[in-house]
């Protein structure tokens, strides 16, 4: 199954952002894990079929109304997790 690192940048300070992202992962049946987060940047791994990883990007780029996602950088990883 493909794995990608999402580097999400924007105004992400809202407390609703990370729970929203976690919920959307579940809604798409994807596996994922947040590796780093602050008010301006969230890094996470997302694992699942390519079309659903695309769908995750679609959903998160809108996200909850309190947050503003400026960009999502996607880095495909191999199964060992290295770039």
């Amino acid at each position: 199954m493909p794995v990608e690192r999402f580097i999400i940048r924007g105004d992400l300070a809202a407390a609703t952002f990370l729970p929203w992202v976690a919920r959307h992962l579940l809604r798409l049946g994807l596996r994922g894990e947040t590796q780093r987060s602050d008010a301006l940047c969230v890094e996470m791994l997302v694992e699942g079929p390519a079309d659903l990883i695309d769908a995750m990007e679609m959903g998160v780029s809108l996200g909850p109304i309190e947050a503003w996602v400026e960009t999502i950088e996607r880095l495909p990883l191999n199964r060992c997790g290295s770039a």
Binding site: W20, R23, H24, R27, L28, D51, D54, A55, M58, G59, S61, L62, G63, P64, I65, W68
Partner: protein
């Protein structure tokens, strides 16, 4: 303080169909009157005269203070095009939903069956979407879709290429392959007049290279398409356009919709939008 909603231009009438009696209508929930005064058209609301202009066959008005000129459609002045005033369709939906639906191709095989799409040709390939910062517009390009009858002038099935452009929150312009004139684009627009947050009047307008099809057939074709869309638009939940997709599942095929919603969110254009998923 400027209000991004009140400071936009909105269509309020077709010039060619505005009779001596004028037109009483609504804009953003307020009564508006469009009328002839001498040889000129005026738009008033509550005794106040609104900035107005005539362009693309329609009368445009701004309830607030215009912050920029009306968007440009250069093709409107290109020689050889037929300009088609389609008329109005009233839809019980958010004005933003009407625009979003116009940006969508994945519904063609199911809503416009055997006209704009047909199974099994349902796949939506990758296309490009960008917000062009220099003009502050949403653009989708390199959109391809197989169509059984792409236009009134099309004889059989072809793969049509599309470009979509959103130059204002309630306006969408579609450029599509022009069967009789390779290299040119037919222009089909959707001008949406927001009556209130869940009711709108939709004014399609076209600038086509088609010298043969009778005008009534061109109008009828576009009205048929839009009446099919109306059955969708009046039955989506929630009625307002969600800017939080927490109860939806957008996929890559919805990229234009997502970009449009992001653009509305960033501009603070929330009239007809739903801010929290419900």
């Amino acid at each position: 303080m400027t209000d991004p909603i009140r400071d936009e231009w909105y269509p309020v009438a077709l010039v060619s169909q505005l009779g001596p009696e004028g037109r009483d209508t609504r804009l953003l929930g307020e009564p508006v009157r469009v009328a002839w005064h001498g040889g000129a058209i005026t738009v008033t609301s509550g005794g106040r005269s609104l900035p107005s202009q005539q362009r693309y066959g329609h009368v445009w008005a701004c309830p607030g203070t215009p912050q920029r000129p009306l968007f440009d459609i250069p093709e409107a002045d290109q020689p050889g095009r037929r300009l088609v005033d389609v008329g109005l369709v009233r839809v019980k939906c958010s004005p933003l939903r009407a625009v979003e639906n116009f940006l969508d191709i994945a519904h063609f095989p199911f809503v416009h069956t055997d006209i704009l799409g047909a199974e099994p040709h349902t796949e939506v390939g990758r296309y490009d979407v960008a917000i062009r910062e220099e003009v502050d517009e949403v653009w989708a390009t390199k959109v391809h879709f197989y169509q059984p009858q792409a236009a009134k002038s099309a004889a059989g099935g072809i793969t049509t290429e599309y470009m979509y452009r959103v130059p204002a929150p309630t306006v969408s312009i579609l450029y599509k392959t022009c069967p009789p004139r390779p290299g040119e684009w037919d222009v089909i627009t959707l001008f949406v007049q927001p009556l209130d947050e869940e009711l709108c009047e939709v004014w399609p307008w076209m600038a086509l290279f088609d010298d043969d099809t009778p005008m009534t057939d061109l109008i009828h074709f576009q009205q048929t398409i839009f009446l099919q869309d109306r059955s969708i638009l009046e039955n989506q939940l929630p009625h307002r356009l969600p800017l939080d997709p927490g109860l939806e599942i957008p996929t890559r095929a919805d990229l234009t919709s997502v970009a449009y919603r992001r653009w509305l969110k960033r501009r603070g254009y929330t009239y007809g939008a739903q801010l929290v998923a419900a």
